[in-house]
Each structure stands twice: as structure tokens, then as C-alpha cells.
């Protein structure tokens, strides 16, 4: 799961996968904007067949936050 998330983020951001880890901050380290986060999360929704509430997306600050949520809900 973690590696899948990291691979998607690496493709999206141009940050090498080996430089992304659980504690990477989506905005500060990966320079994503809030619309990027929404777009990436929507891709995960389609991939895992789940629906992530809007207010939950606002709680995603790090890679670990996304991983923990997807692990719980998938």
C-alpha cells in the first residue's frame, strides 16, 4: 500500500520515489497544492472503490495519513 501511494506521488510530483517516505508532508515536501491532493485522492477512490469524505481529505497532511486511511477503508 505505502509503495503504491509513493509511486503515484512520485509520478505526480517529479520527486524521486526514494526521497518520499511516510513522514513526507504533502504540501511542504512534495509541493502539492490542495487541488492536487483532492485530485490524487480521487484517483485512489477509483482504484480502491471507496469514497473519502471531503472533510477527511482536509486531514491528509502526510503520506502516512493517506496510508492509514486507505488501509482502514479499502
Amino acid at each position: 500500500m505505502l509503495q503504491e501511494i509513493i509511486d503515484v506521488l512520485a509520478q505526480y510530483t517529479d520527486v524521486p520515489a526514494e526521497e518520499i517516505n511516510e513522514s513526507s508532508d504533502l504540501i511542504e515536501d512534495l509541493e502539492l497544492n490542495s487541488f492536487d491532493v483532492i485530485t490524487i485522492v480521487s484517483d485512489f477512490e477509483d482504484q480502491y472503490g471507496i469514497r473519502i469524505p471531503d472533510d477527511q481529505i482536509m486531514e491528509f497532511h502526510t503520506v502516512a495519513d493517506i496510508e492509514a486511511y486507505l488501509e482502514k477503508e479499502k
Binding site: 509520478q11 505526480y12 510530483t13 517529479d14 508532508d25 504540501i27 511542504e28 509541493e31 497544492n33 490542495s34 487541488f35 492536487d36 483532492i38 485530485t39 485522492v41 480521487s42 471531503d54 481529505i57 482536509m58
Partner: protein, 520 residues
């Protein structure tokens, strides 16, 4: 191309006439489209829209919402939001479009400051309503019934009730006299100091800007804007201008569905802020990586619905590289400039009259000049009535009969270039205006903080704090304070980094901190 003539959009006398004329001339034309809760595409004709607005407005009148009542609108983008907007302003009342991402305490403060007696809200806000009522039942604006909160989920009931009243001969809404020079919208915007300021706009201001903007851009197909309707650029350009052009307006109900909505709507033009352009560019990169091929104009066009020829971008500075990139793909990325106080557009690049790096020529029937300090000044029918209950701020902003934008710029040939800010406002790539002083006040309220300055660093907010030495608080204390302040702010206002200072900030002769000397 200088002197390229204006387009000839339909005239707008006022916002009621705009609806009535379309309903009469093109009753079965599609005014709005959106994806419903069941996933099917819903369409609303001009005639249906007029009927819904008339019915809701009549129902509101029957509930005593008359004679200049201030009615707040709080919710995500929806057809119901838009129809309710018109039911408020065309009934002689004043609408307060609120930013749905604000924490409840900020919203309560705006409702109080804006003298709101009534709130129409979407279902996401149901849990917050008891707190709103408890705080606002005794406000000066509330009547004997207390603060009235009306759920937009009851929209179809309002229509049904209103239609019954109209059938019984109730003409209170449809014949209600509208003074186009009265305030019809009160829009709170981050000012350069302290509390947000309420920008007062009239129907004449809004009607003028709808026409001015469409004289510079000719919409030939469906328009789509993912921007929130409380944002004046999203509302007036992204929705009302499209409506006035007799073109279908696709309502994006949730920004997360924008790419899917674009595929359904197949717009010829979308109205966005730079943040969305950044994301499109990243998506093109990921598509190229996945397919192992360079993006071609055909691939980009397909990804954006197949019919897209133009993108109008405003709300924040747009790096010129994106303009060049989209041009390679055969799409005109037309950067513009505006400010809520000007209803909101002042300038936009045109398909036949553009200059890269500029925000284009001033709109027709507006005047823009640069004063001796380099500040951009504006004059025209689209300039606001003033700031609500703030004559000092109004006088300051309207010195010499010109609206002072607070932006620095230059005009070269007839193109306007934005070169900086005369004041301290921070503008994010999503077009949000953030007053650093407003956030700084929250730090300064803590006795352990002697000085605090909030600024923009790498597209994020940062704060530097000089501690009150006598308090002797450790750095962890300030980290906890930052976390606490962030927890009460929407995402775009959250501060991402904290720097503790060993020395106080440099101040000028009048005692103000010199922000330009702060090492970022």
C-alpha cells in the same frame, strides 16, 4: 492587436431583467447543467430557472424576508445556491455569500458584522446550525423569531410553496421594485488590516461587470467553472457571464469531480485560478509518464473534454510558462486581473489582443491608471459602493474618486502588468486573499509573543516570532500555539513553518515593522 473591437453581448439592465429576457426569448434553452446525486446529468431551462427564482423569492417574501434583509448563503456550489442568490437580490434583499471553508467562529463573526437575520445553508452545515442560532438569536439584526436558518435541502418545498402563492396572485416578489444602485451583495474580503471588510456591491455594479467582461471575451459554447460561487470571479464571470451569453453553464458541485464534469460538459471555455492550472500541468505530466509519449494537442484536448479552446484564469498571479505551454497545445490561456471591490474584473487578455506576462488590456467602459506611487487605480460602473459600516476605509480606498487596488503595476502599450503589492495582502495560487495582520493578531494575543510576522514562503504561509523574554516560554510552547491557531483556520490559511527570532524585527520611524527586511 490594439483597438480590437469589443464583442456585443446581451445588455443587462438589472439581474431580474437578465433572467426575464432569457426566459422570454429562449424559454427552452439550457441555462444550467449539473450532475445530480444519482449520477445523471440534470438540465434546467431558462424558463424553469425564472420560475424557480420567482417561486423561491415569493416564498421568502411570505416569510418576511423583505425590504433589505441581509441573507447569508453558505454552501457548496449547487443549482439551488445560484437560484437562491437571485431570489434574494431580486427581492430587494442583500446577499452575503460566505466561504464555506471558514471555521464556525469566523462565520458567526461575519454573520454578526454583516447584520444577517437569515441564513440559507447546504446540508453539510446542519450540525453547526444550533451554534449559529445560539450566537445570533440576540444579534441586532434578528427579529422576534431569532436568527432564521433555512436549509437549501428544502429548496423544492420553497418552490412549491412559492408557486402556490403566485397562483393565488401574490406579486410581491415579481413586482418588487429594485433600485439598481442600492447594495444587493455584501462580500467579506480579507482587508489589509484587522477584521475582514464588507464590500458593498449593487445590481448596477454586477450588471456592468457582466457586460464589460463579455465585451472582452466571446463565449461560443458551454462554460464551466470549478471555482466556489462565493468567490466573485467564480460567480460573476464563471456563472453569470455564461448565463447572460445564452450559453449552457455547467455547475461543478464538487471540485473533486472537475475532470469528470469536464468530460461530461465538453466546455469551450473554463474559468479557473492558477492553482487549477498547476494541477492540470501535473496531470499532463503524469499522463505522459504513464503512456510513455509526449503530450500532444489532441491528447490535451481530449483530457479537457474535446471542445476546449480557451481558459480564463484570474484571482492570483499566473506564471507565464503555463500560458506558453497551453498555447503549444492549441488552447488560449487568457490571464486576467480583478478585485472583489470592482465586481470583480478589471482586465483580461483577449484571444485577438494579448501580451504574455500581462493581465491584458483594461475592460471596455472601465478606466485604469497607475498613480505616481505605481499603484493601480480604477474607475467605472463596476466599482463598489464602499465598505460596509466603514466610512474611513471607504474614504481611504476611494481617494480622489479612484478606487485604490493596493496592487502595483505598469501599463505598457495598453497592457497592464502587475508588479507587486502596495500593501501586505498575501494572495495564494487558489486566489485566496490572506491578511497577514489578521493571523498575526492571533499570535500577539498570547502573552508569550512580543512580535509576530506572517509572510508567504514558497507558496505557503510562514511565521516568525520574537518571544516576550520575561515569559520565558520554550520553543515547544510556540509550536503548540501555532498548532492551536492552525486548528481554527481553513487549510489555505494554515501556517506551515515557524521561525523563532533572537532579535526583534527592524521598525521604521513610525514604529511599523519593515516587512521588506525580513529574511525569508
Amino acid at each position: 492587436m490594439k483597438n480590437y473591437p469589443p464583442y456585443n453581448p446581451p445588455a443587462v439592465e438589472d439581474l431580474r431583467q437578465m433572467i426575464v429576457s432569457k426566459a422570454e426569448s429562449n424559454p427552452d434553452g439550457i441555462a444550467f447543467m449539473y450532475t445530480g446525486d444519482d449520477g445523471t446529468v440534470q438540465t434546467v431551462t431558462y424558463a424553469r430557472f425564472r420560475a424557480d427564482v420567482d417561486a423561491v423569492g415569493t416564498y421568502f417574501h411570505s416569510q418576511g424576508i423583505v425590504e433589505g434583509k441581509h441573507v447569508a448563503l453558505l454552501g457548496v456550489n449547487s443549482y439551488e445556491w445560484l437560484a437562491t442568490f437571485f431570489a434574494i437580490v431580486n427581492g430587494g434583499n442583500v446577499v452575503l455569500p460566505l466561504d464555506a471553508r471558514q471555521p464556525a467562529e469566523n462565520l458567526i463573526r461575519l454573520l454578526w458584522d454583516g447584520d444577517c437575520a437569515v441564513l440559507a445553508y447546504s446540508k453539510e452545515f446542519e450540525p453547526a446550525i444550533p451554534a449559529f442560532k445560539a450566537s445570533l438569536n440576540d444579534s441586532p439584526a434578528a427579529d422576534a423569531r431569532g436568527f432564521l436558518a433555512l436549509p437549501l435541502t428544502s429548496f423544492s418545498d420553497w418552490v412549491r410553496e412559492g408557486e402556490k402563492l403566485i397562483a393565488q396572485g401574490d406579486r410581491s416578489f415579481t413586482d418588487c421594485e429594485i433600485d439598481v444602485h442600492d447594495m444587493c451583495a455584501l462580500v467579506f474580503t480579507s482587508g489589509t488590516t484587522g477584521r475582514p471588510k464588507g464590500v458593498m456591491l449593487s445590481q448596477d455594479n454586477i450588471a456592468a461587470n457582466i457586460v464589460q467582461a463579455s465585451q472582452s471575451y466571446d463565449l461560443v459554447g458551454t462554460g464551466l467553472s470549478p471555482l466556489p460561487m462565493h468567490h466573485m470571479f467564480g460567480l460573476i464571470v464563471g456563472h453569470l457571464m455564461v448565463f447572460n451569453y445564452n450559453r449552457p453553464c455547467y455547475i461543478v458541485r464538487n471540485i473533486r469531480n472537475v475532470m469528470k464534469d469536464i468530460q461530461i460538459a465538453k466546455p469551450t471555455c473554463i474559468f479557473v485560478v492558477p492553482m487549477i492550472i498547476e494541477t492540470f500541468a501535473k496531470q499532463f505530466r503524469i499522463m505522459a509518464k504513464r503512456t510513455g509519449a509526449q503530450m500532444t494537442p489532441e491528447m490535451v484536448k481530449t483530457a479537457l473534454g474535446g471542445n476546449l479552446t480557451d481558459i480564463i484564469c484570474g484571482g492570483a498571479p499566473l506564471p507565464v510558462g503555463y500560458v506558453l505551454m497551453f498555447r503549444q497545445f492549441g488552447i488560449n490561456l487568457l490571464n486576467g486581473y480583478g478585485i472583489t471591490e470592482c465586481s470583480p474584473v478589471l482586465a483580461v487578455n483577449r484571444v485577438m489582443d494579448y501580451c504574455d506576462g500581462s493581465v491584458g488590456p483594461a475592460l471596455f467602459d472601465t478606466e485604469v491608471m497607475i498613480d505616481e506611487d505605481g499603484e493601480i487605480l480604477a474607475r467605472g460602473r463596476n466599482v463598489m459602493l464602499g465598505y460596509y459600516k466603514n466610512p474611513e476605509a471607504t474614504a481611504e480606498a476611494m481617494k480622489g474618486g479612484w478606487f485604490h487596488t493596493g496592487d502595483l503595476g505598469k501599463i505598457d502599450d495598453h497592457y497592464i502588468f502587475i508588479t507587486g503589492r502596495a500593501k501586505n495582502l498575501i494572495i495564494t495560487s487558489s486566489g485566496e486573499n490572506i491578511s497577514p495582520e489578521e493571523l498575526e493578531d492571533k499570535f500577539l494575543a498570547d502573552p508569550a509573543v512580543a512580535e509576530a510576522v506572517v509572510y508567504e514562503k514558497d507558496n505557503n504561509l510562514a511565521v516568525q516570532i520574537f518571544p516576550e523574554k520575561e515569559a520565558g516560554a520554550p520553543e515547544e510552547y510556540f509550536k503548540a500555539l501555532l498548532k492551536k491557531i492552525n486548528s481554527g483556520e481553513p487549510g489555505y490559511r494554515q501556517i506551515r513553518s515557524l521561525v523563532m527570532r533572537a532579535e526583534p524585527f527592524v521598525r521604521n520611524s513610525t514604529g511599523k515593522i519593515v516587512r521588506a527586511l525580513i529574511e525569508k
